[in-house]
Symmetry: C2
């Protein structure tokens, strides 16, 4: 054997050993991740035919399937459809203690859209901002996010696509999109580079050379294993609260709200009929124009949320409306970033969804009961404002209602529920316990109203000592807002 040949074969053997030992470390890390409840999201982007799929295959080959998932949002039916841009990716985030590998994700999705001119430069910029926010929220929520870009030069891409196209069994893998990317390689390159530069705010990019085959696998494994070790050593990260400026609407404190307004039975019936009939017409127009609507209800126990929601939902076509009652999270929900269970319940465009309690649980019950850390709920005001801006950027109408009563009215209704057999299921010990914490809740609600009533997603305080008054006020606000949305859409 010649010297150079010998050296090569030694190098190869060394590489094999390195990969083997890195894989063994990753297998051991699984258990540590599980114990530390640390979720890991690995985003693999890169050129078509750069070998993203093969790289993932090599990384996962020894891990136990109970601890990881490979997701290709690009081929999920949701991705092409009527949801916000980040929806398929937000849906795909791992549970605590698990790994998710994304075989291309938000980079590919954003870059293709802008190069195809399916979105404007303005919209593209907006997406870049959303991506930075999304990544920061994951990081601050304790996620380890690793972003890899797999790079190959144009000639290599050409050669690989050619091989795939030459076999009957693999030619279907080369799509028109791939050929288009090859044809427009320089433009893609510029856009990818720019994209990476602009999305380094919370999580940095790692460009790996897709030409080095086994050495690429080694490099990716080393990167992942090192990052995990570091994260395990430092413990689950909890992001610092921060304040970004949102255009806020000045809200009164709850104490300042006059709860005396009432409505006569006669006027109630007349108005209800008129508003419901108008809402029904508007639903058709919203559907036609594909405008999504998100109505959020919060309020004191026994304030009348349920009855209010029913009056709003009744005139709507049940095929186009979903009411989501939000109870305490199930285990698989609790094990993910707090907004995940709302991301996954978003309506399709043109549909209306009504949340009976919402993500604001974070800054009310979770804050007061200590279900999250102080930093978590303090950070949440901005995280929620960002989330809602993502929704309104997408084109959604977002309205938030605080259904308000005073303590005496609550007591009267609790007592009535207690004493009426068919209503007893509605009242639990927890309601009484919450009632004792009224002053603490009032502080939290006031802070929430001050910090999250943005111009794009405003809060409305609904005086509900008289439930009928409350229903009419809510319906009126909804009809007015949707009317405006429909008109602006022409």
């Amino acid at each position: 054997m010649s010297d150079s040949k010998k050296k090569k074969s030694e190098e190869k053997a060394k590489l094999r050993e390195e990969i083997k030992s890195l894989r063994a470390r990753l297998v051991a890390q699984q258990q540590q991740l599980r114990a530390a409840k640390l979720p890991v999201l690995v985003l693999i982007e890169g050129w078509s035919a750069a070998g993203k799929g093969s790289l993932i295959k090599e990384i996962i080959s020894e891990i136990d399937p109970r601890f990881y998932q490979v997701i290709s949002p690009a081929i999920l039916p949701e991705s092409e459809s009527r949801y916000p841009f980040l929806y398929p990716f937000a849906k795909a985030i791992p549970e605590n203690g698990k790994l998710v590998f994304l075989d291309s994700g938000w980079m590919e999705s954003a870059v293709r859209k802008v190069l195809r001119r399916e979105i404007t430069r303005e919209e593209y910029k907006c997406r870049l901002r959303q991506i930075n926010e999304f990544e920061r929220q994951l990081r601050d929520g304790g996620y380890l996010v690793l972003k890899i870009f797999l790079d190959i030069p144009r000639e290599e891409q050409f050669a690989r696509l050619k091989v795939l196209r030459e076999s009957a069994d693999t030619e279907w893998r080369v799509t028109n999109d791939d050929l288009w990317q090859y044809a427009e390689y320089p433009q893609f390159k510029k856009t990818y580079d720019e994209f990476m530069e602009k999305t380094e705010e919370a999580v940095s990019w790692h460009v790996l050379d897709g030409m080095k085959k086994k050495a690429t696998v080694r490099d990716a494994l080393k990167l992942l294993v090192t990052k995990i070790d570091k994260a395990l050593e430092q413990g689950r990260y909890v992001g610092e609260p921060f304040e970004e400026k949102f255009p806020l609407i000045k809200m009164p404190t709850l104490k300042e709200v006059d709860l005396s307004p009432v409505i006569s039975d006669e006027e109630y019936k007349k108005e209800l009929k008129k508003l419901q009939s108008r809402l029904s017409e508007l639903h058709n127009m919203l559907y036609d124009r594909k405008i999504p609507v998100i109505l959020c209800y919060e309020g004191w126990d026994a304030a009348g949320k349920g009855g209010n929601i029913r009056r709003v939902a009744y005139p709507l076509d049940p095929r186009g409306v979903d009411v989501h009652p939000i109870a305490s999270p199930e285990p698989h929900e609790l094990n993910r970033q707090f907004l995940w269970r709302f991301w996954t319940r978003l309506p399709r465009s043109g549909h209306i969804c009504i949340f009976d309690r919402t993500w604001y649980g974070r800054v009310m019950v979770e804050r007061l009961e200590g279900f999250c850390s102080e930093k978590d709920w303090q950070r949440a005001y901005n995280e929620i404002n960002e989330f809602e801006r993502t929704l309104t950027d997408w084109g959604a109408v977002v309205m938030k209602f605080w259904i308000h009563i005073d303590q005496d009215t609550q007591l009267a209704r609790f007592t009535d529920r207690q004493n009426t057999p068919e209503k007893q299921w509605k009242i639990t010990d927890e309601d009484w316990r919450n009632r004792e914490k009224w002053p603490e809740y009032e502080v939290a609600v006031d802070e929430m109203l001050q910090k999250t009533s943005t111009k794009n997603a405003p809060w409305y305080i609904i005086e509900s000592n008289d439930k009928k008054y409350a229903r009419i006020k809510t319906l009126r606000l909804i009809v007015k807002t949707l009317d405006k949305a429909v008109k602006e859409h022409f």
Copy 2:
């Protein structure tokens, strides 16, 4: 007021009262359903423009959104896609104690397909059988299923479609499908009638007159309320075991299996490489031909399922394969028919999915630990055979592996796990407890193998005292079967 006018107005008032009182009963029943853990599935089928949506709206108007959901599988993206015919409906079944209203479902889906000639008469017949099986399984699993067909004559349909088309805000609601149905009214009528006649096996149909407006609402409510009362009175139904004939493959008992086969390291390496490389090629062809593949793993604890699965998954494109580790069900899974959590994990056509433990838990752990009633697990053999036939009818390749070892080998592996720090997480007290029940498990496994190794979805016993031998045997079987499937598809 004339006498006839007076009579009419009295009748109208009476009708209003009736509806009001029926709605109040339904509201009260919610709580009883919840207490009795009784799930209710209401299927509303009928002519386009018959008023299905409005009827549902009137039925649900007083129920608490926490207890019901309206689903329109027809407009779900899944329905048009690459899943079995029943997939969107199986996905939609309610949790215990809740109601689901389907705004058209398996009737509309099957009838349109056959009238469009997108499926043959043979396939249509097959679907009718699947529907009867599906409805029976729900009924036997304790579901109250109510099927309503909303009928209107042709002239009325014409008039209603005309009104919708005349307004700019509602014309989008009239689809080409609706116009086609009107044009082909007689043929649709014949097919609907025949469909109803043929799907009465487990659950009967109720045809309601869609012309009577408020009276239709009253009739539907009365039907629902009466059925629920009856179901509550009788208590949750548990179906009787039954035996249908499936073409079975004669299986040996576990005792008869010779566990001595081994493979040399050298042959293992050679074969592994060869088989994995072929499997990788086959995956491309399967994808191209859109053949779904479902690989099911069961076996003794420490038999080597995990390592076996990893060797099979490794050569596959991670974008087209999903490994589903099946642990004990989460609450929302436990609250539905036992096959639900497998229905919802089915692969898209062209994808491979690997179940690490499966629906056979029903006739093993659930049987032995008393997690279901005796009737439930006895009925499950046939229910599972039907489920798997539904999958193979759809075109899926279904293979089931029992990874087999003897008690001594298990003990050796348990001890090794116990004594090796990195493996300790793999061994729990439960494993030791299960080991004590080996004889009972053996009886259950033998019965399972005898009763569910059908020609379309056969069991393979994999001798795994030598794990490497087991891997090669499994890979060989998979390659052989997929090779055949690919060839038959040309």
